[in-house]
């Protein structure tokens, strides 16, 4: 979903606190943002989206860039929040079980479409953490390799290697027939 108006105008209005501008900005990123945090295994994706949007509003004065840069910035925030969420889940799991979790895979499937025929949380376990970040940012968030490189703080070549290997693993798992 696009903003529909010139981005600088919407950004200026959002900085001044115009509700309509924020509604447009949020509507343009809400779906992929919520999908990304849900695919990353957030227990409560809506709560995590709320935290991302709050940080977005608090930092809008410091943002400089175009619409693509805005999307990248939103997912930078979301990515950091996801990592914080995962660390918190690990601490809770460690306190409960007194041992490290078996893998970094998403522990839940909150936000997953009920009509999905593939057990994606299980399917994504075959990927390493960085591969999963890249695949999800590219597939779910719909970002380019360059945007993902900025979000993860890596070079574009590294991102391409990660996505290449991730696709190979998913292809191999597809042959094994891991379905729901």
């Amino acid at each position: 979903m696009t903003i529909g108006l010139p981005f600088p105008e919407v950004l200026r209005a959002a900085r001044s606190g115009a509700d309509w501008a924020w509604e447009r900005l949020v509507a343009s990123i809400a779906a992929p943002l919520r999908g990304y945090v849900a695919a990353q295994g957030a227990v409560d994706p809506d709560e995590l989206v709320g935290q991302v949007l709050l940080q977005l509003v608090q930092g809008i004065e410091r943002f400089e860039g175009d619409e693509a840069g805005f999307r990248s910035w939103v997912f930078v925030i979301a990515h950091h929040r996801v990592i914080d969420e995962r660390r918190r889940q690990r601490r809770q799991t460690a306190l409960q079980a007194r041992q490290a979790p078996a893998a970094d895979a998403p522990p839940a499937d909150a936000g997953l479409d009920a009509s999905a025929t593939i057990d994606w949380p299980q399917r994504l376990r075959v990927l390493s953490e960085d591969q999963r970040h890249v695949i999800l940012l590219r597939v779910v968030a719909g970002l380019s390799a360059e945007e993902v490189a900025r979000i993860l703080g890596k070079r574009v070549g590294t991102i391409r290697v990660l996505q290449h290997r991730g696709l190979a693993r998913l292809r191999a798992e597809l042959g094994a027939g891991v379905t729901r």
Binding site: A27, G50, I118
Partner: protein, 295 residues
């Protein structure tokens, strides 16, 4: 983080997917001429469809409104408000802790109360109470501070001992001489003289005092010698005060019990006057007795 993400086992293998084909797969499309990748492309498309769902515009509006409201009202992660002045040169930054603010509020409420009339009255009363208590404590007169239960009881019980008579004379002389002048009959000197007569052991000086008292009614000068004499008597001031205003003092002092102590008292302190007038007859003592004693 290594360049290859620690997945060296896949190095050198040819998966048959180049960069362009990977981009097409990740966008859910099947690369041209690669039908073998169609299942993978379908799976990736289902991955996107599984998590990315269209958000209701109302939900998006609510999300935006909530984020804006929270940003305006809640502090950020570092404890500062989202909208803060650029400089804190005018005053220090606000503390995140609420304790000083609450303490300030309590102090302000107390000061506001003290500015009112009721507050001033309460403060004045507290000051008087504190001063009184402090004064009593400094002099050791607080109840239970130095006094035993006996003294408290003694102060409340009417006393009619022998010691009271002498103490009465003592305090009467020392504290309220003018009162004796007015009362006349309440003077102690005649009473002491009566006791002396009954004892049949009257000395000359005592007789002088008796005659002087008889003639002059209640001469303060005649009272003085007897009043000064109280060294051996235990006479708490409290007890004498109780009897000082008692009109029945004469009756009490006229008891036979006085026969014993009155001569002893006078014999100790009035030896000078007694010696001087010991040989004088009673008649001469009527004239000069009070004078010599008053000296």
């Amino acid at each position: 983080m290594t360049l290859f993400d620690g997945d060296g086992g896949e190095m050198g293998k040819d998966h048959g997917i180049d960069a362009d084909q990977a981009d097409q797969l990740l966008s859910g499309r099947v690369p041209a001429g690669r039908d073998d990748l169609a299942p993978l492309a379908s799976d990736l498309a289902s991955l996107s469809a599984a998590y990315v769902r269209e958000v209701d515009p109302i939900d998006a509006r609510l999300w935006a409104a909530r984020a804006v409201a929270q940003a305006r009202l809640t502090p950020s992660d570092k404890g500062d408000l989202a909208a803060t002045p650029a400089s804190n040169a005018d005053r220090p930054a606000r503390q995140a802790s609420g304790l000083p603010k609450r303490r300030t509020a309590v102090l302000e409420s107390i000061l506001a109360f003290l500015t009112t009339t009721a507050g001033k009255v309460v403060a004045a009363g507290a000051l008087v109470a504190a001063t009184t208590t402090g004064g009593l404590a400094a002099t050791g007169n607080l109840p239970g501070q130095d006094d035993g239960p006996e003294r408290v009881i003694t102060q409340s019980v009417p006393v009619d001992d022998d010691t009271v008579d002498v103490a009465d004379a003592d305090t009467t002389e020392l504290e309220d001489q003018a009162e004796l002048d007015d009362q006349g009959e309440d003077c102690d000197a005649p009473d002491v003289a009566e006791a002396d007569d009954d004892a049949d052991e009257v000395e000359a000086d005592e007789v002088e005092a008796d005659d002087d008292a008889d003639d002059q009614g209640c001469d303060p000068a005649a009272v003085a010698p007897t009043a000064v004499v109280t060294p051996e008597v235990e006479a708490p001031e409290v007890e004498s005060e109780d009897l000082e205003s008692d009109d029945d003092t004469d009756e009490v002092e006229a008891d036979d019990d006085h026969e014993v102590e009155a001569p002893e008292v006078e014999s100790e302190d009035e030896h000078d006057a007694t010696d001087d007038h010991a040989d004088e007859p009673d008649d001469s003592s009527d004239d000069s007795g009070s004078e010599s004693e008053s000296d």
